[in-house]
């Protein structure tokens, strides 16, 4: 019974959030990207644990991962729509280092990716996958949303509505 009530509540909340359409138009960068910052897990870690007033949406992806490529526009859209509300999108690429020049950089330029992209290159995946989230099996795509109070990890794909809905849970006081 309780479960049912909760579902109905969630449903109503979802409808409300659905109706608030955002129409922020961020200015599109026209700079061509020529290099990508490469980090190991130790260097990435501080970006996953910031304690400021921003909500961070971290998407783990790769150009070879079809479901990742499919959902990437939703992250871009989210980053643009919520930039004025202290939301920052970071795209952590797990492309093969030898394909950065041939695949990753052209992809970023072709798709005019506006969010910040870093390449994570670190062996001993077993250690850092667990450190990022205990429930992560390592499958891509995966997403982490966090602020200084709350943290949620998703080993799944998103459509825009679901992603926005998850973000809204962080935006509520």
């Amino acid at each position: 019974m309780n479960h049912k009530n909760l579902l109905i509540l969630l449903f109503i909340a979802f409808l409300i959030s659905c109706n608030k359409e955002k129409s922020t138009t961020a200015e599109v960068k026209k700079i061509t990207v020529t290099t990508i910052k490469t980090v190991n897990y130790k260097q990435l870690q501080p970006l996953l644990e910031k304690k400021d007033d921003t909500i961070y949406v971290i998407n783990f992806w790769a150009t070879w991962c079809a479901p990742c490529v499919k959902e990437l526009p939703y992250f871009e859209k989210l980053g643009a729509a919520y930039s004025s509300r202290n939301v920052k999108v970071l795209l952590v690429s797990l492309d093969f280092p030898k394909q950065v020049k041939s695949k990753l950089i052209p992809f970023i330029n072709d798709h005019k990716i506006q969010s910040e992209v870093v390449l994570l290159d670190d062996v001993n995946e077993d250690i850092w996958i667990q450190a990022i989230d205990k429930t992560w099996s390592g499958a891509l795509p995966a997403t982490l949303i966090y602020n200084k109070n709350k943290r949620k990890f998703y080993e799944q794909t998103f459509d825009y509505e679901t992603l926005e809905n998850e973000l809204n849970q962080f935006l509520k006081p």
Binding site: L7, V123, S137, A139
Partner: protein, 202 residues
């Protein structure tokens, strides 16, 4: 009118996401007994674990044609079979992807790839994608080591600690686990993780 449309659309999305949120968390854990399966091999014959009368166990690997991490591990999977089939632990590879969701992962494509890479092990097609959820496989490649007598899962995870670069491997998880089983010793690492491609279904 627009608002009504939006509400209807939102309702549909909500119902779909709540009704079909599938999870692989309910799959086999280390220590669980597994059910046998019967899947079609690239040679056209059906394969079950019970067919292997002399095996002591199996290195079951969910893998596929299209995932670059699977491709990066093909030679290592061949090497595992070469090393352990004769010792009683053959490799059984299973493609869990629905070809409708992953072009290039169909049965005919599997036949081509198995020939190109001279797979020495069966490469089975999980038709209808019914077996991988039982295992709780979430990605390719994803390894499950199972003993034959008890049909129990002894190890779940990665092949080694450097999935994308075979030259940087310093720890061979699967080899260590099978060696321990063969020696009657305790497996040190029974669960490991690696980056992989999510299993593709519609």
């Amino acid at each position: 009118m627009k608002t009504i449309q939006k509400i209807v659309l939102c309702s549909v999305v909500f119902l779909i996401t709540t009704a079909f949120t599938t999870s692989t968390e309910n799959g086999y854990k280390v220590g669980d007994a597994i059910e046998d399966f019967s899947l079609k091999n690239v040679d056209g014959k059906m394969v079950s674990l019970s067919d292997y009368k002399k095996a002591k166990g199996f290195i079951i690997i969910f893998t596929c044609n299209m995932c670059p991490y699977s491709v990066a591990n093909e030679d290592r999977i061949n090497a595992l079979d070469a090393k352990y089939k004769s010792k009683g632990y053959p490799v059984i590879a299973i493609n869990p992807n629905d070809p409708k969701a992953s072009k290039g992962d169909g049965f005919e494509d599997m036949i081509v790839r198995a020939k190109e890479k001279s797979f020495s092990f069966p490469y089975l097609f999980d038709e209808g994608q019914k077996v991988y959820p039982k295992f709780g496989a979430s990605k390719t490649p994803h390894v499950f080591i199972v003993t034959k007598k008890e049909m129990k899962v002894k190890y779940i995870g990665a092949i080694d600690n450097s999935s994308k670069n075979p030259d940087a491997v310093t720890e061979k998880y699967v080899e260590n686990a099978v060696d321990a089983l063969l020696a009657g010793k305790k497996i040190e690492k029974t669960e490991t993780r690696a980056i992989g491609c999510t299993i593709k279904v519609l």
